[in-house]
Assembly symmetry: C2
Homo-oligomer: 150 residues x 2
Amino acid sequence: MSETALSFTPEAILNRLRGDGLRITPGRRVILEVLFEAGKPLSLEEIKDLAAARGSRPDYATVFRLMTLLERLHLAHKVNLQRSCSYYELHDPKKHYDHIVCTSCGKVVVIDIPCPLGATEAHIAEHYGFGDLTHSLEFFGRCPECAKAA
Amino acid sequence: MSETALSFTPEAILNRLRGDGLRITPGRRVILEVLFEAGKPLSLEEIKDLAAARGSRPDYATVFRLMTLLERLHLAHKVNLQRSCSYYELHDPKKHYDHIVCTSCGKVVVIDIPCPLGATEAHIAEHYGFGDLTHSLEFFGRCPECAKAA
DNA sequence: ATACATGCAAACATTTTGCTTTGGC
DNA sequence: GCCAAAGCAAAATGTTTGCATGTAT
């Protein structure tokens, strides 16, 4: 498990880019580190600011283009947090990404559970005829801290 | 049960608004009919156009404000179809709304199955401490027609 | 040297607001 | 008549693109 986890690192992603004839730059390395260490979805603005805190100063468009590129390569994806902008996180093809969002403080937690929708996807394939299914699943509720405060 | 199903109609929603001191207008009635009969999520633009096709000509802002109002009253909600704008549908509190989106032609189907996430929500409450859970679930795949065409 | 990556600014799309007029009650 | 709703226009927000310059390979 830890070996699998370690194979999907910023360096590994950079190497994958190089394999496609794309380039490794210091700015890209920082952005990937930021995403990797955050462990939760980040907005383009947040990525930019966190990179800045590490001494890189990527333009917003640069962050946008890198995330768009990673998305196209299936190395990252957008997450719908029902806010006014998009959030992104790295996407290890071996992992499953569902989220819980606190409706009170906005905290986001990535849920680490086996996907509970296998049977449902089979049902959909059979009854609705849709194939090649993926899904996007977000839970919204009140986190323990906010529950206590209220 | 059929009474229950029929209780969530455009007229019923309008009456609910009146109960809150808000007003029933011909334009609102048309928009609600459009949403009710579509039976799938619509963008603000689509709502506006479909209303126009019925002789009403609501301003975009009018549609926006009505949908925002309905959202606040929990009579409608936004759906994330992973597109550049928001989609809305009426929300009968007695029903469950999950969706399948065709990644090829964009067709959207509302899935009519019992929610498969009850056990998961219990698990989340227990292991992550989040309460008052709701969720948003969309499936993406290829519809039968697009599969045939390919 | 050759592309790809970046920064900057501008264009775009969508959402949201302010204000005046209209119209439901 | 009072106050909410609608229409219109402008502002605000977030996303995307064009182009000149910088830089990895």
